[in-house]
């Protein structure tokens, strides 16, 4: 089983099952993980599913696309590890992935 861990801004951690082929954003919503709003429903058209990928995972997860970079302009406190979780597809390689949600979305 593939698992993703979400750590919120206060440090609370939640590890949930993720379906291969779904996105990290969908994984969060399905498991009712707070801190991810996904206002646009996963169209890469807002910036309310912003996460920080933990350092150990940034290389495997990869860099944002051009369109995602454009959307990240609308997020706050953007860091080099910032990604929009609707644009990260869960694969078996990502089993154990750890992401942190920002203090505020949007």
């Amino acid at each position: 089983m593939t698992q993703v861990t979400f750590i919120d801004a206060t440090g609370a951690s939640r590890t949930v099952e993720a379906q291969i082929g779904s996105t990290v954003m969908e994984t969060a919503l399905r498991a009712s993980v707070p801190g991810i709003e996904a206002e646009c429903g996963g169209a890469c058209a807002c910036a309310t599913c912003h996460v920080y990928v933990s350092d150990a995972w940034t290389e495997i997860v990869g860099k944002p696309s051009q369109m995602e970079e454009d959307m990240l302009d609308f997020a706050s406190d953007v860091r080099p590890t910032s990604r929009l979780s609707c644009q990260i597809k869960v694969t078996s390689e990502l089993d154990g992935l750890i992401v942190t949600t920002p203090a505020k979305q949007g």
Partner: protein, 345 residues
């Protein structure tokens, strides 16, 4: 007092649901005015995902948001709806009785429309500038933080900080540069979404020493009362600078807010409007609601649901607009009278 326009139905929101409602009303000889806060029709399809393919519009295996809006505009064309774009509906007054409803709709641009029925097709609410989550920014809004420029003169002699990398940010850099004391653009990366010629013009001003560009993000604001004095900036290299300024203009895109709809006496459930599923009427007779803004048991936020809801609402609205006429159900494939209205016969 501005002049009042009289029509049959005022539709709030010119997204796909509102547009298709014009068609269904038009087939029943009911005229409509549409009001939308965006400068263009199409709602979320036009603003959020114009180029994205949509796969669940019946009869279209794949169509872009823009393509769908274009088709809907063509479909309603025979009915000549009146559009009031760039306007937000602020007030909705009930003038009539439940049996003979009448309403007055007022916008922030001073437009006043009297109608026998109202359809709220406002989707996720009205698109409004997004407030960036900078601590205590609310305290400066309206005095030294602005999300839109109404009067350029207001910025004469000011040290203006503009944040963002899109067309709004770059356009105001260039337009306010001649009047401001000093313009500083802050953006998190050295790549811009704005039109290349605006970016080039900005870079030329920076090269000539006529304005500043800082790669970074605004993390905090300092000032006295509502008067801003300093923007705390985290630069790209991680260092912090305190930047003195009088005015901040953040351009972080748009977000959807329910807005004034909450003040019209409508029942609301978690920011959605409950309706029945027969006529899609709200708790106020004559006010209908369709599309993403409504809720009922089993509601799906799909464009196709909004189309269905508009068609059913039109049937009941016919009774308000033409109380003496009996409504005869007809098909566009066979009815010569409908085809005449569509201009195809």
């Amino acid at each position: 007092m501005s002049e009042t326009t009289t029509t049959d139905v005022a539709i709030i929101g010119a997204g796909p649901a509102g547009l298709f409602a014009v068609f269904e009303l038009g087939l029943l000889d009911i005229k409509a005015h549409l009001i939308d806060i965006l400068p263009k029709i199409g709602g979320q399809c036009a603003e959020l995902y114009p180029e994205k393919p949509i796969y669940d519009i019946p009869g279209f295996p794949e169509i872009s948001g823009h393509g769908l809006v274009e088709n809907l505009a063509k479909q309603v064309q025979p009915f000549h709806p009146t559009f009031h774009l760039n306007e937000m509906v602020e007030s909705l007054e009930v003038l009539g009785t439940p049996e003979h409803p009448k309403f007055r709709v007022g916008t922030d641009a001073g437009t006043s429309i009297e109608a026998k029925a109202v359809i709220i097709a406002a989707g996720g609410g009205s698109f409004q500038p997004k407030r960036p989550p900078i601590p205590r920014i609310e305290g400066y809004e309206g005095a030294s933080v602005f999300y839109a420029v109404r009067k350029i003169e207001q910025f004469r002699g000011k040290r203006v900080v503009i944040v963002g990398g899109g067309d709004s940010a770059l356009d105001w850099v260039l337009n306010l540069h001649p009047v401001a004391e000093r313009i500083t653009l802050i953006h998190r990366r050295d790549a811009f979404r704005a039109a290349p010629h605006s970016v080039n013009a900005m870079r030329a001003l920076v090269a000539e020493g006529k304005m500043d560009f800082i790669l970074g993000q605004v993390m905090g604001l300092k000032g006295e009362g509502s008067q801003l004095a300093v923007a705390s900036i985290r630069k790209e290299d991680g260092t912090h600078v305190e930047h003195e300024c009088d005015t901040l203009l953040p351009f972080f895109g748009l977000t959807m807010k329910l807005g004034p709809i909450a003040d019209w006496g409508l029942n609301l459930h978690e920011n959605l409007i409950p309706t029945d599923t027969e006529k899609f009427e709200t708790n106020i007779p004559g006010i209908f609601a369709i599309g993403d803004i409504i809720t009922y048991p089993g509601k799906l936020k799909l464009i196709l649901s909004g189309f269905h809801e508009g068609a059913l609402a039109a049937q009941k609205i016919h009774r308000y607009v033409y109380p003496e006429k009996k409504l005869l159900f007809q098909y566009t494939t066979s009815s010569t009278s409908l085809q005449r209205k569509l201009g195809v016969n």
